[in-house]
């Protein structure tokens, strides 16, 4: 059943702008705490730049560790935004309304964070310019477009630019609401940002077209970004378990799995923090959980494909790698935890309707998914590198150092802090969308019951 309440436009404004006009006491404490963690991360990174990559646990032959895992993880989270807002916009799902902005904003901030990871990993980030940007006219040395390490920045840059622009265009009508309700310097700021929006017929029409059209264009970008990230691995010949044709869709759907879960976590947090019970309702969690069952099962299918066809060739090194992943400690423990967290605990739970409508259980399952999906990336990246191969004479293992752990923790604090700060300046639930939902909401009387209904333009 739906628990919808009819709300007036003024009420919607009051509720959804609460995050901007009211500051609870804990808010600045929380921001300051997260800021400290971020600061610790930057300090650790600075220390590492000064001392060199030797302070990390990276070692021959494991040159990719926590940083790259974290990079892939945050790219994955960033896929929530487009998955939810673009696909649900295109299929005109009513229950998308409260989720789109949070998802898009999460996309932007997690992408920024993700982009920092390879920069930090490079050890000398200023050098990255030489590999990525075609600018060195004086010497005529240009980056190699045949390298996956050049495609990656191109794709992430495209995705980041598009998501920022997408968020901005969708924000314009909401900024106009803020403009009408503020005074002083904030009024000036919102006036400039709202571009003089008045809500005329033409402006709304184009706003709606923008939602659909940009969704349709960003969708192929979203697919390409994680595919290209997967080709960082897929195009590498010498590492067992990486050269698999299924990597692109496998990574994409895994990203959607972790991303949608993260959006659910964030939405529940927002509902609790800003008292948005009337907007983020149980029916939304229910619908998202059902979506997650489908996505998780799709992901699991690709996981099975990847695993079976890893073994399919029956070549010694491949089989040995799978053996290591599954049967050697500590990988066994990680592997089991990963499977339980990413699939076998949450999905059966979501099949139970009561779980889908329970806030603590939804928080629990979605966080579990992201623990599992972080481990998934780790298990893909490190064992393949760590396995002893012919002609590798220095052969070290990999244990993450304190520097790496601090930096990884700091990225989580960074994204949370940025989302909190964003909520202070712009509404995290699209106001115009919520109002439109109220206009299009209707009821149909069938016999003795009123069934919720929605008006639909053809």
């Amino acid at each position: 059943m739906q628990e919808r309440v009819r709300l007036s436009d003024a009420q919607i404004n009051r509720d959804l702008l609460r995050s901007i006009f009211e500051t609870p006491k804990w808010y600045w404490f929380l921001v300051a705490f997260l800021g400290l963690v971020v600061l610790a991360g930057f300090t650790a990174a600075g220390y590492m730049f000064n001392q060199g990559l030797g302070v990390t646990g990276l070692n021959r032959p494991v040159m990719w560790g926590f940083f790259i895992t974290n990079f892939v993880f945050w790219i994955g989270i960033s896929h929530a935004g487009v998955m939810l807002s673009a696909i649900l916009r295109l299929v005109q799902a009513e229950w998308r309304r409260p989720a789109t902005r949070a998802a898009e904003v999460l996309t932007v901030f997690s992408l920024m964070t993700a982009m920092m990871m390879p920069l930090i990993h490079a050890g000398r980030p200023w050098r990255v310019m030489y590999w990525v940007f075609p600018y060195d006219f004086a010497r005529g040395v240009y980056p190699n477009v045949r390298s996956a390490l050049v495609w990656d920045p191109a794709a992430v840059f495209t995705y980041l630019t598009s998501s920022i622009l997408f968020v901005f265009i969708a924000l314009v009508p909401d900024i106009a609401v803020l403009r009408d309700r503020t005074t002083g310097w904030r009024h000036v700021m919102y006036s400039v940002l709202s571009l003089g929006w008045r809500g005329s017929v033409r402006q709304w029409k184009l706003q709606l077209i923008a939602g659909i059209l940009l969704s349709a264009i960003i969708l192929p970008i979203f697919v390409s970004v994680h595919s290209i990230v997967s080709w960082d691995f897929g195009t590498a010949m010498s590492v067992e378990g990486w050269h698999s044709t299924v990597f692109a869709p496998y990574f994409v759907i895994g990203a959607v799995h972790s991303g949608v879960s993260a959006v659910v976590t964030v939405m529940i947090a927002l509902r609790w923090v800003f008292k948005w019970e009337n907007y983020i309702r149980m029916e939304h969690l229910d619908a998202l959980a059902k979506l997650l069952i489908v996505v998780a099962t799709g992901w699991f299918y690709f996981f099975i494909l990847e695993f079976i066809f890893g073994l399919y060739s029956l070549e010694g090194p491949e089989v040995a790698l799978r053996e290591m992943q599954v049967f050697q400690m500590p990988w066994t423990a990680l592997f089991i935890t990963f499977l339980l967290c990413a699939y076998f605990i949450p999905v059966p739970m979501w099949l139970i309707p009561k779980v889908r409508r329970s806030i603590p259980l939804m928080i629990f399952t979605t966080i579990l998914v992201n623990i599992g999906m972080w481990l998934e990336r780790f298990i893909i990246i490190v064992p393949g590198l760590a396995r002893k191969q012919v002609f590798t004479f220095t052969w070290g293992g990999y244990t993450p150092s304190a520097v790496e752990i601090v930096i990884v923790i700091a990225t989580f604090a960074l994204v949370s802090m940025l989302v909190l700060l964003f909520a202070k300046v712009f509404p995290l639930i699209p106001i115009g969308d919520a109002k439109e939902g109220m206009i299009l909401y209707d009821e149909i009387k069938i016999g003795k019951v009123m069934v919720p209904a929605v008006m639909r333009e053809e």
Binding site: M1, Q2, L90, V91, E94, P220, V223, S227, W231, G234, T235, M237, H243, S244, T245, V246, F247, A248, P249, E283, Y301, F302, L305, E306, I308, F309, G310, L311, Y312, S313, L314, D442, I444, I446, V451, P452, A453, V454, M455, R456, E457, E458
Partner: protein, 457 residues
């Protein structure tokens, strides 16, 4: 007066429940002369196919190369018809109201499963044992694929038929209530005492969704088994983790195309125009566009990894399947499965017409046939599947007279089964339309007429 920007679609919403039942049942009782003319022509073509099959059979099972086009025909019919059932399952799952008039059209393809299953049987003798070559059966006995693939396809067919039967019970009860004599008796038995009580409706809904979910999972599994056992594992050095998923995607793509073409023919030749409207074509064409893009994406993921790797085994697979030996079917599949439908369907105004989706769907149906050729014919042209990789590429197998007879006969047979099945089960699901009458309204909002869709949980 002010003209509404969008005239409200779905003219069946202006009919009453009785009118709908009368109309559909009447058509179901007397299909007209043309129907029987077409079925006899199809039966004739099927006869030609049987002749071709007997010639092929007389040469025995040893020469695998001769069976390439037979396997292609089997795979083509399987991918299109068996996946078509999924359209109604998936659209029912997401509660799309526009699916109502076309749900049965796609479900009815479950009946073709019987024919697909018959086609599989001779192939079991052609398929070599898995001992000594790569397969997904690893250390299992050599006849594992013969056993398990048959069982899986059989289960899928049974599940599809059960779904079709279950979903038609209320309609068969309607036929029973309108018929007399022997026909009434027959449908009385088939309707299993359906009265339409609340309890029965509840059971029906649960049954349909369970069978649908089960069908979905089975279909993915069968796609994986057939694509690997009957194509990929026969080619040495072809290790392609994405191939089963690609096979399933082409299945969905040809399923959507098949449904669109069927809808078009029904609109053109029968009185069902008032049910099958631009709304349905619009909905399905968006799916077809998405699947055409996915065709490219899944193909590219596989191709790109191989191209980049530069490993001899993978390079020879690329040459064999795409760029040298079977270049022609590959290029045709690429153009007809991806490029043309994309160029046609990227325009929303084209998607909202009848001709646009029909044209694109017809092209896709031809394209997916070449897509089947480019995997199955090469796979059967390799003599020794136990090699490590393809060092020398075998020559291309071009279709001969017998192959063409089999292709024509096979496709005609599948269409014939479908048409005959439509004699048993009404081709439009009246109970879903009547449910649609309850859950959809047209009402006035200020100055326009607008459709209101109920979203019950």
């Amino acid at each position: 007066m002010h003209e509404p920007h969008h005239p409200v679609q779905a003219s069946y919403l202006r009919m009453t429940a009785q009118e709908i039942t009368q109309d559909v049942i009447q058509r179901h009782e007397s299909p007209g002369r043309q129907f029987w003319m077409v079925t006899s022509v199809l039966a004739g073509l099927l006869g030609l196919g049987i002749i071709g099959f007997i010639i092929l059979l007389s040469k025995g099972f040893e020469d695998r190369n001769a069976w390439g086009y037979y396997a292609t025909t089997f795979a083509y019919i399987f991918t299109a018809a068996q996946s078509a059932v999924l359209i109604s399952v998936a659209l029912r799952m997401v509660k799309a109201h526009w699916r109502r008039p076309i749900a049965r059209i796609s479900e009815l393809f479950a009946a073709v499963g019987l024919f697909t299953f018959l086609l599989l049987i001779p192939l079991l003798w052609v398929l070599p044992v898995t001992t000594g070559r790569r397969s997904i059966w690893f250390e299992w006995p050599g006849h594992s694929p013969h056993l398990w693939d048959t069982l899986a396809l059989g289960l899928l067919v049974v599940c599809g038929l059960a779904l079709l039967y279950f979903a038609s019970i209320p309609d068969m009860a309607a036929v029973r209530d309108h018929a007399t004599g022997a026909r009434q008796n027959r449908y009385r038995r088939m309707a299993l005492g359906w009265q339409g009580s609340l309890h029965q409706w509840k059971k029906l809904q649960v049954g349909i969704s369970l069978l649908g979910g089960f069908y979905f999972i089975l279909l993915i599994v069968v796609h994986m088994l057939i694509s690997v056992d009957f194509a990929m594992s026969l080619v040495p050095g072809w290790k392609d983790a994405i191939f089963p998923a690609f096979h399933a995607i082409t299945g969905f793509q040809s399923a959507v195309a098949l449904t669109i073409v069927t809808m078009s023919i029904l609109r053109w030749k029968t009185s069902l125009r008032r049910y099958i409207e631009a709304d349905q074509f619009w909905g399905l064409s968006k799916l077809l566009l998405a699947l055409s893009l996915l065709w490219f994406y899944f193909w590219w993921s596989g191709f790109f990894t191989y191209w980049y790797g530069r490993q001899p085994a993978e390079q020879s697979i690329l040459k064999f399947l795409m760029f040298e030996t079977y270049k022609v079917p590959f290029i045709l599949a690429f153009l007809l499965c991806f490029v043309t439908p994309f160029v046609i369907l990227m325009w929303n105004f084209v998607r909202k017409t009848i001709w646009g989706p029909t044209l694109a769907a017809s092209i896709v149906l031809v394209g997916t046939f070449f897509n089947a050729i480019r995997f199955y014919v090469p796979a059967y042209s390799i003599e020794d599947s136990s090699l490590h990789f393809l060092e020398t590429l075998p020559p291309a197998n071009t279709p001969g007279g017998v192959d063409i007879l089999i292709i024509i006969g096979g496709i005609a047979g599948a269409v014939l089964v479908y048409m005959l099945a439509s004699r048993v089960f009404p081709i439009v699901s009246t109970w879903e339309l009547k449910e649609g009458l309850l859950l959809q309204r047209v009402r006035k909002l200020m100055k326009i007429q607008i459709k209101v869709l109920a979203k019950p949980e």
